[in-house]
Amino acid sequence: MSPVLFTIGKLPIYAHGFFLLLALILGMAWLILEARRRHWPKEDVIPITMAAFVGGMVGARLSIVFFNGWETAPVVLNFYHLFDPRIGPGSILGGVAGAYIAGYIASRAIGKAGCACDAFAPAMALAMAVGRMGCFLALEDGLGKPTGLPWGVWNGEYLAHPAPLYDAAFNMIWFMVLLRLRDHPSMQNGNLLKVGLVGYALVRFMVEFTRNNRVLALGLTGQQLFCIGLLVILSIYLAQKWQVGHRMSAA
């Protein structure tokens, strides 16, 4: 494990920051490729992508108050600490929620018909797969709970679940799956992103059992409660959509 990935002269380059930056660059590059493939006009791509990026960064930070408790508020809710590189970005779940809300608002503001968010689904999975490598190398949150499994990783105190690698492995597989699904007729108009989010929320819920995050209620972490909320909202949405489709085909 190496929090310092390499040095340039005497300047250390840290794994977490490096892989986070790399993840965002790769995610953005994939989004641009996907947008071009979908013939998305740049007048739409640029503001929606900018809004999603900013919303993601803000959401990631603000969600820490929910996940880590009110005592974090003096830092988290201080607007000017948002841009402080010493603090780090926050939670990926909050980032996803913030990016979705901001992208939605931006697409409504520019009057875009329909949902363009499907282009984000594989890009998000790719970015999360890469970003988690940094979390693993930085031993973030002690990696995970103690384990006796053969792939347990020594975190300096005990053999731990390599939870970031579980996340990364799933996201890499999920990226491939989403690529296979992206042209399917039923996976258009926002459905690909919603399916992508359902898959991530399900797996993240399970991965949380191996992590050291703070338990909020019912023996579940804030991240797990968030995943349940997300799954409920998406289930209601997909059920309603299915009902409408069913009624239309019956008519």
Binding site: Y14, F53, T72, V75, Y80, P89, G134, E140
Partner: protein, 130 residues
Amino acid sequence: MDQLDETNSKTPTEQTLSQKPATPAKRQLTRNEKLRDFAIGFIGWWVVNGLLWTIADKTAFRDDFGSVVLFCAVPINIVSLIFLAFLRRWVALGVLATYVVNFAMALILGTITNGYCWIPFTTPMKPFIL
């Protein structure tokens, strides 16, 4: 044919609504107007937030006023950006660009500062918390 049937099946009220003349399209901004609005957003963000930050920084440790300003900066910035997005799109894009620049700089500097997700809360950086 389908379209014709669809029109005939509409109630009189629906037909009246659909036959209502479209509202006149918004006037398109010229290139210079777009650039002006973008610059207003980009520079305006620094001016307004610079002012807020100066007030908050000078008073945060003396009384509650500075803390209130720091807390209010989040909703003020978010709500004003949403309003601008619907009212003055190019001003909003200018504001959005300042965020992108700031976050990009923070991410680049993050590679040399070892700032990872929970750092003020799990490592001995308590003096950093206000």
